[in-house]
């Protein structure tokens, strides 16, 4: 699920229009990739969005899913999630680094978004070819009118995919609006009786939003855990 949420953030960066298919790549499912690319062209260069999200985590331990809610903002490849409930937390994805801020704990964590742990992260850097090395893409029937639904499936490691791991969803389904390719829903299914569904509402263009506005403003005294550094190096301030 860690990679799932990061993947989502990076996927949003991707769908915000900062990605173009790599030329000369041979797609695993060329028709599906082509169809996805055409769909994303409908965004007409819009790269700034705001919205609200509801995340439902299904677990075999409970009858009811675990629900989290908050807002999401995307600007020029930078993505920011502000979770309000059940407790406040912030996630910002920028320049291949994922930053988590937990105000109640006065703690920040930095992670690298690499191709192995966040396969969709490659999209944020414009490397569609790498995505195709890790995932199979297929289109699904959408039961919601006016939407398109597709599925990413990690390729097995023996084929060079490298994306499959105990922490990677077995399947990721994504629902986009037909007209402007706005993100409607993402589901991560891990095949272990568990899944995470994210639904987006009021996802709309925000041309006035800038990437700088999405930066974290950290209060003094926050403890930083920098996991982007090699193991034996001390953590650096953000």
């Amino acid at each position: 699920m860690f990679s799932a949420v990061r993947c989502l953030a990076l996927l949003l960066a991707f769908t915000a229009g900062c990605i173009a298919p790599a030329s000369g790549e041979v797609a695993d499912d060329a028709a599906a990739w082509q169809q996805l690319d055409e769909l994303l062209q409908r965004r007409s260069g819009v790269t700034r969005w705001t919205g609200t999200f509801v995340q439902e985590r299904v677990t075999p331990l409970l009858d009811e899913p675990l629900v989290s809610t908050g807002t999401i903002r995307v600007a020029d490849g930078v993505v920011r999630f502000d979770t309000a409930d059940p407790y406040p937390s912030v996630m910002v994805v920028r320049d291949g680094v994922v930053t988590f801020f937990y105000p109640d704990d006065a703690t920040v964590e930095l992670f690298t978004a690499d191709a192995r742990t966040s396969p969709l992260g490659v999209l944020a850097r414009g490397q569609l070819g790498l995505l195709q090395e890790h995932f199979r893409l297929s289109f699904l029937e959408s039961d919601e009118p006016g939407t398109a639904r597709f599925e990413l499936t990690p390729l097995p490691p023996e084929t060079g995919g490298g994306a499959a791991s105990a922490d990677t969803a077995e399947r990721i389904t994504i629902t986009l609006g037909d007209e402007r390719a706005d993100l409607r829903a993402v589901a991560f299914i891990d095949g272990d009786g568990q899944s995470t569904d994210l639904r987006f509402e009021w996802f709309e263009a925000a041309p006035e939003l800038t990437a700088d506005e999405l930066d974290l403003k950290l209060p003094e005294g926050v403890v930083v855990h920098d996991f982007t550094q090699p193991r034996d190096e001390p953590a650096a301030a953000p």
Partner: protein
């Protein structure tokens, strides 16, 4: 100009305001806990045990907070399910990402830790160092999860109350453990290891007791485990706080299947 206050309201408005205050006050009151006045210590202990043994399971959303000796804390949230027959499972994460999945069954304990967590120096990274020890610390913690429905008081069951009882409390003691009940409500508030000069010590406290209206049983959805090493005076606390707890729900065995990729840990 007259100050605006209760007295300037008409009688009918006053009654409306009074009714609103009464409604708010009543809404803020939880169902009162049952009281058992006038019991001898032995009767009180027996009554508590009978009540506690009617609790078969507990589950709900959970927030786990780790607090070190300096007061620094880390919080993870997720779900927990515990059955009195020794089954327990705890799933934790942050911001919706899974970090840890711990399963305890009578036939073993399994642990899954997110590759990101284990590979990138999280608070849980030292778990690897514990492998090879006689008892894995997460196996011990898995045992402690069961305390949510079966507090560690079995060996105290036949013990007598201590001669001196603090006001409003009943303290029961065995050679190694001490349990404290509130005298009238018979709420178990703490169980602790009798201090030794060296080695680890622990205490577990139970908070926020409430009455389950469906079963009429009293339970605690909040458990705090305080760990200390008496030799070094290192201290550490783990608090499990459940929200929307479900008491005595039928939790199927399938809920306790270890997560795919989980590894068995020594017990």
């Amino acid at each position: 100009m007259r100050p605006i206050g209760f007295r300037c309201l008409t009688p009918s408005l006053r009654s409306v305001v009074f009714a609103l205050f009464a409604a708010v006050w009543l809404a803020g009151c939880s169902t009162p806990l049952p009281r058992h006045p006038g019991l001898s210590p032995q009767q009180a202990w027996a009554t508590y045990l009978e009540r506690q043994h009617r609790i078969e399971s507990l589950r709900g959303r959970v927030e786990l907070t780790l607090t070190d000796a300096d007061g620094k804390r880390r919080t993870l949230d997720g779900a927990v399910a515990v059955r009195a027959d020794g089954h327990a499972r705890l799933q934790l994460g942050r911001l919706g990402r899974d970090a840890l999945d711990l399963t305890r069954r009578p036939d073993g304990v399994w642990l899954w830790v997110s590759p990101q967590v284990s590979e990138q120096r999280s608070a849980l990274e030292n778990l690897d160092d514990a492998r090879g020890r006689e008892r894995h610390p997460m196996a011990a913690f898995a045992d402690a999860l069961v305390w949510l429905v079966r507090p560690p008081i079995d060996e105290i069951a036949n013990a007598t109350a201590t001669p001196r009882q603090p006001k409003g409390r009943l303290v029961f003691r065995s050679a190694e453990r001490e349990a404290t009940l509130k005298r009238e409500t018979l709420l178990l508030t703490e169980v602790r290891a009798i201090d030794s000069a060296e080695g680890p010590g622990w205490s577990v406290s139970f908070e926020d007791h409430r009455l389950d209206p469906a079963t009429g049983l009293v339970f605690s959805p909040e458990m705090r485990l305080d760990l200390r090493d008496n030799a070094t005076d290192d201290r550490f606390a783990v608090t499990l706080r459940m929200s929307r707890p479900e008491l005595n729900a039928a939790i199927p065995d399938t809920a306790f299947g270890p997560r795919r990729g989980a590894e068995p840990v020594s017990r």
